[in-house]
Symmetry: none
Subunit: 190 residues, 4 copies
DNA sequence: CATGAATGAGTGTTCATTCAT
DNA sequence: GATGAATGAACACTCATTCAT
């Protein structure tokens, strides 16, 4: 009995995920520049040729990995997706974001490092911009409706702050006083 | 008759700076990994070989560029170098830092992009750490003597904040509400 | 459907031998230092990259060539490998060695020329020393048990003599009076 | 008062010798392939450009060094240059040759190593052949007039023997039983 | 679907040689 | 005579990608 189309599709998806996982692992260990297709294929126990059956190029593989990470990171923002950010949702977002980061520091350090490389940035910037747009809108509404004088300034300030803190945390998770900093963040929003 | 020693020195210095400038430009555009010596030489209109007359390796070239920028950026911190940060010096530092950034946005965007690439980070991290150490000490004293409860948290929070803001500003100087954000920063320190 | 493992293995072995042959030829003509991977690849009608599919480095290629030749040359020494050299075995060794040399003068001229280049010597000296050690022991026993006064001197003298004769023969096989010289060698051992 | 032409010539010759000495020193230390003109010039305290004032190319410099060594090695053969080798002159030649080798092992090891590299061999072979020819004639006469049956075989045998011994001695001067071997050589000629 | 041999353009680096000064 | 900046071809080696099987 031949497999159904869905079964094939599922097998394909599992393989792709396996390749993504392995690739990310190696990139985290050895850096993007030192991660060759050959290494990924070897560690994933498949042939180089087969790699190209699943991803049309190294670039596409990267895209795929980065998009996956980006989505995980924004999932906690306005979780009910109603376009309105309540006070609770804001605090939830902060906590959850750091929980996500903390759950796999190695992944996220790697993620940020990769993300900040210009060639990678160039690849996924369009996707990020498109996805981020509604979130920035929502954030603006949040600050505006909470009586902040310059919601625009607040959004940018807050985004920069979160990025800076996330970056520092992820770069030096051991030494970073995460709890203290989180507390400061929460208090700033009250 | 050969040139005088000064003439040679001058030629060398000019060429080195020219190479550094071109290199930074390309690295910022295409990333460290994609910046080959060949590309740098071509854009600088010199031969590949000449590069190695001035920098012993690609690494040394990177170091040279990054250290130069890093020093410019920290010059304004505790300018009288007495190890004590007054209130005024703190405000001065913030203003001056952004002035420096603003004075050559293109350079600093490049600088940050380059700095955040893992290969580069690895290269100059030791230098940065060594240089930063006394500054962090000074900052700790500042927060401690100004009655902050957790000076440690404050230092890290402040550093992360400045990095985040600097990064965002430099990545989107046009759209970034710099004056409003600076005001917020100053007010936070009062 | 991919090739079977045996098919791949066969392709690999053939290619490796082909590369070794071509490499030895060029090295003999132009010296180790002047033999580039590019030249080898070109003459072997393969791409540079493929070289590295079969040999991990230029050094490994050299090792591979030299070890192969060295082994062929020592096969005839103490052929029953009992650690004892009879009179007959000694004479057999001399004759066989020159037979081997004579059977492919071109190869052996190349081999000696390559072997005597310092870069190459450095590479395989450890291997040679390790392999030669028991042979020298055996030769010492031979001279000692045949009543020679200074077996140590005899071993070194004989080795030097054989090397010298082999070298001269191989460098000028046409003009070298091999039979006469062999006769002298045999008579010296009686 | 300007220098006379001879004075200039003498200065030139001294410089050239100084360069040869330095070059040989470096080659002996680091091998031929790793000896660059830049290194030689630096160690000789002159500029790269000036090197080319004295030697038209690296090849010519090599030639110059090798010829010098070759001459020193053959000086002791038939010292009165009468084309006839007496018994005493033969023994003198053997002793003197090894004295010369012993006087600067490092030089001669280097010399042989360099000499045996095909590219070098190619360069000075014509010179060597031309110079060696009369010596071989003289040696033939020696063996012929001393009643050897096949003078031709004896010449080649003896030359091969001397080369082999010289090579072994120079490659492992510490371990080589020179005195014992020399004694054997002398006795073979009686 | 799966393999890995094969390619070719690319990498950082070296160095003999030239030449304006 | 003397300098060293400048060149350009060469080097060993890497790797994303293709394709016959």
């Amino acid at each position: 009995m031949p497999r159904t189309e869905e079964q094939y599709e599922q097998i394909r998806e599992e393989r792709k995920q396996q390749i993504r996982d392995v690739a990310l692992e190696i990139i985290a260990e050895e850096g993007f520049a030192n991660t060759s297709i050959a290494k990924i294929a070897k560690r994933a126990n498949i042939s180089k040729g087969l790699m190209y059956n699943y991803f049309t190029s190294k670039e596409e593989l990267m895209m795929s990995i980065m998009v996956e990470g980006f989505n995980k990171l924004t999932e906690a923002f306005d979780p009910d997706r109603d376009g309105v950010l309540t006070h609770d949702e804001m605090h939830f977002f902060i906590d959850t974001t750091f929980d996500v980061l903390k759950s796999n520091i190695r992944f996220w350090r790697m993620y940020f490092m990769v993300l900040l490389q210009p060639d990678v940035t160039k690849l996924i910037e369009p996707y990020i911009m498109k996805t981020l747009e509604p979130f920035l809108q929502t954030a603006y509404q949040y600050f505006a409706s909470n009586g902040y004088e310059n919601p625009d300034v607040e959004v940018r300030f807050f985004a920069a702050l979160l990025d800076g803190v996330g970056l520092h945390f992820v770069m030096d998770a051991e030494g970073f006083p995460l709890e203290g900093v989180k507390e400061k963040l929460h208090r700033m929003l009250d």
